[in-house]
C-alpha cells in the first residue's frame, strides 16, 4: 500500500509540475532554429559541426525541458542577410521557433536581430565578429556570446605593440567587418604609442595577395596587420611566408584566426603568429573532455564558436527550465542573472546590452617541433581578464544602456 501511495503522490506531483510549467509555455515544443553558413567561406568555423554541437547540448539535456520536448530546425544562410531574413521570418511567424542560434556573418546577425526584436523572440549569436552587434545595433532580443572585434584588437594589437611593433601596415577586407576591425586596431595601436602608416583595402574575397604583400613590404612597417577572415587570411599568410616577410624582419599580426584556419595553414606556415581567442580545446580537463566527445561526433577539434554554441544552448535550456517559460524576455533576464560556469567560460556574465563578457586568451601558434599532433596548435600566453577585454558599458552606444 505504501508503495501505491508513493507512486500516486509522485504521479500527482509530476503532473502538477508539468502542468505548472506548461501554463507558461507558449506551445508544446521548445523549437531552436540553427542558422549558419553551411556551404560557403565561413562553413568550417561553425556550419554543420555547429549544428552537431547544438544537438549535443540538447542530448545532454535529455531532449526535454520540464517535460516539454526540444526540437531543432536548421538552414543555410549563404552569408546573405536577405536569405537569412526570410528564413527567420518564416521560423518565427509560421513555425513558432523560440530561439535562433549559430549566426556567423555579422551582416546576417544584424539583420536577423531586427526581426527577432519585431517578433519578441530570442537570438544567441555565436559566430559573428562585429562589436557593433551589441553597440549601435543592440536589441533586447539577442545575446552575443563568444567574442567580438573589440577584444581581438585589444588582445593581439596591444601585445604586438608592446613587443616593439610600433609602425603598422593594414591589409583590410573591404567590407563592414574589415572596416570595424581596422578601426578597433587603429585605436589600440595609437593608444599604445604606435602608428598605422598605411592601409590597403582589398576586395572580398581575394585569392592572390602577392601584390598587397609587396606593397606592405615596401612600406617598411614593423607589423603587417591582417584585418580579414577565413580564406583571405590564410591566403595572405601563405603568400607572406612565400615572399619572406618574416625573414625580412616584419611581423604578421592576424587579428581574426579560427582553429580551423590555423589547422589549414599548418604549424610550419603559421608558427609564431599571435592571436586572440575566446576558448581553446586544450586548456584543461573540462575542455579536453568535451572536445573528445565533439571529435567523436565530427572527426575534428572544435573551434571557439562550436564550444560557444554548445555552452550558450545549455545556458538557454537551463534558463527555460528554471523559469518554466519560453518567453524571450523572461528567459533573457534569467540568463543575465545567472553567471556562466562551464567548460566554455568561468564566471561569464551576460550584460544588459546582450554582450556575454568572459576571459579571453592571447595565444601563439606552436612551432612544428612543439606541436604534438595535427590539432595541437596553440600555446596560451596570457589570460586577458573579462573586464579588460570587452568594450566597457560606459563607452556603449547601445539604447539599452543609460549613458
Amino acid at each position: 500500500m505504501t508503495m501505491m501511495k508513493k507512486l500516486l503522490t509522485s504521479a500527482v506531483a509530476s503532473a502538477l509540475m508539468v502542468g505548472g510549467a506548461q501554463a507558461e509555455m507558449s506551445d508544446d515544443t521548445i523549437k531552436i532554429g540553427y542558422l549558419a553558413d553551411m556551404s560557403g567561406t565561413y562553413r568550417d568555423l561553425a556550419g554543420p559541426n555547429g549544428l552537431k554541437a547544438l544537438e549535443m547540448a540538447i542530448a545532454d539535456f535529455g531532449g526535454k525541458v520540464n517535460g516539454t520536448k526540444i526540437e531543432v530546425v536548421s538552414a543555410d544562410d549563404r552569408n546573405s542577410p536577405d536569405s537569412a531574413s526570410s528564413t527567420v521570418r518564416r521560423w518565427v511567424e509560421n513555425e513558432n521557433v523560440d530561439l535562433v542560434a549559430g549566426m556567423v556573418a555579422s551582416s546576417v546577425s544584424i539583420a536577423v536581430s531586427k526581426i527577432l526584436e519585431e517578433n519578441d523572440r530570442l537570438g544567441i549569436i555565436s559566430g559573428s565578429a562585429a562589436s557593433s552587434i551589441t553597440n549601435e545595433h543592440c536589441t533586447p532580443n539577442h545575446i552575443h556570446y563568444v567574442y567580438d572585434t573589440y577584444p581581438l584588437a585589444n588582445g593581439t594589437a596591444s601585445a604586438v605593440v608592446k613587443e616593439g611593433g610600433k609602425t603598422w601596415y593594414m591589409l583590410t577586407a573591404d567590407y563592414a567587418f574589415g572596416h570595424a576591425l581596422e578601426g578597433d586596431v587603429t585605436r589600440v595601436v595609437e593608444a599604445n604609442g604606435g602608428e598605422v602608416i598605411g592601409t590597403v583595402r582589398h576586395p572580398f574575397p581575394t585569392q592572390d595577395f602577392s601584390s598587397f604583400i609587396l606593397q606592405a613590404q615596401a612600406s617598411g612597417a614593423d607589423v603587417i596587420g591582417l584585418a580579414n577572415a577565413g580564406a583571405d587570411t590564410t591566403n595572405a599568410i601563405t603568400t607572406a611566408s612565400e615572399f619572406g616577410v618574416t625573414q625580412s624582419g616584419q611581423t604578421l599580426a592576424a587579428l581574426l584566426l579560427f582553429l580551423t584556419d590555423v589547422h589549414a595553414l599548418g604549424a610550419e606556415t603559421a608558427q609564431g603568429i599571435q592571436l586572440t581567442t575566446g576558448w581553446y580545446w586544450d586548456m584543461n580537463d573540462e575542455t579536453r573532455e568535451w572536445s573528445d566527445r565533439f571529435m567523436e561526433e565530427t572527426g575534428v577539434r572544435p573551434t571557439m564558436v562550436h564550444a560557444g554554441i554548445y555552452s550558450s544552448a545549455m545556458q538557454y535550456l537551463k534558463a527555460v527550465e528554471a523559469t518554466g517559460s519560453d518567453d524571450a524576455q523572461t528567459v533573457r533576464q534569467q540568463m543575465m542573472d545567472t553567471p556562466i560556469n562551464d567548460m566554455f567560460a568561468k564566471n561569464g556574465k551576460i550584460r544588459v546590452d546582450g554582450r556575454m563578457v568572459h576571459d579571453m586568451y592571447l595565444a601563439e601558434v606552436k612551432t612544428p617541433e612543439e606541436s604534438k599532433g595535427e590539432w595541437d596548435l596553440y600555446k596560451i600566453l596570457r589570460t586577458i581578464p573579462a573586464e579588460e577585454s570587452y568594450r566597457p558599458l560606459s563607452e556603449s552606444k547601445c539604447k539599452l544602456v543609460n549613458n
Partner: protein, 295 residues
Amino acid sequence: MSMIFGVPLAVLSGQLLIGIINGAFYALLSLGLAVIFGLLKIINFAHGAMYMLGAMTTVLMFDYLGVNYWVALFLAPLVVGVFGVVIEYFLLRRIAGQDHIYSLLLTFGVALIIQGVLINWFGVSGLRYTMPDMFKGGVNLGFMFMPYYRAWVIVAALLVCFGTWFVIEKTKLGSYLRAGTEDSQLMQGFGINVPLLISLTYGFGVALAAFAGVLAAPIYSVTPVMGSSTLIVVFAVVVIGGMGSIGGAIITGILMGVIEGLTKTFYPPASSAVIFLVMVLVLMFRPSGLFGKEA
C-alpha cells in the same frame, strides 16, 4: 628614388612582374576554355571545377599515395583529363549540335555537383600542401623579393601555352582537329575518328585547367570553392581575347594579369572589377574581341 604617379619605380616593377605571374595563370586557364570553345563550340562552365580538381588531386595524391610534385604535374592533368573524357562521352555528346545554352547549363550543373560533393568531404578551410623543397626561398632582385616558385610558374605556364598553340595552329594533328569541327562528315570520310578526336580535345582542354591547378596548389589555399571565383574572371579574359582565339587567349591572359596588378597598386578596391570594365569597353568597340575573327 624615381616615382611614377606617386609610386616608387621599384615598387612598380615588382607589381608588373607579379602581374605577369598572375597573367600566366589566366593565360593557362583561358587557353583551355578557348580550345574547348574554338574547336567544340562548348561553353565549359566546369572549367573552374577542373582547375580545382587539379589542385585537389595534387594534394590528395601526395597525402594518400606520397606522389611528389613533379609526378603530380603530369599525373593530375592526366587524371582530370580522363575524367573530362568521361563527362564528354556520357553527357556532353548527347547534346552535341544543340544551342550553346545547353552545354553551358550542363557543365554548370556538373561543376556544382563536383564542388558540393567535395565540400561535404573536405570542408572549405583548405587542404595543406607543402612547397617542394627545391622551390623554397627566393632571390632578391633589388626591387623585389622573387620567390623561386613564382619564377617557375611563369616558365611552366608559358611553355605549355606555347606548346598548345603550336600543336593546334601549326601541326597536322591540329589541322585535323580544326577540320573535324568544321565538317565532321567529310573528315570521317577520310577515315578519321572524329568523335574520338572531340573527346580527346575536351579532355585536353580540362587537363590544361588541371595543370594550372597543380601550379596553384603550393601557393593558394586548396579548397573546393577555389575554382568558382576564378572562373568568372577567366571567362571575361576569353571574351576580351575573342571567343575561340587561341593566341588571343594567351596574350589577353597575361595582359589582364598586368592590368589587374597595376590596379592593385593604384586603386586596390577596383582590382576585382577592372577586368570586367575592360570587357565592357572591348565589347562596345570590338564585339568579337581583341583577337576574334568573326563578328
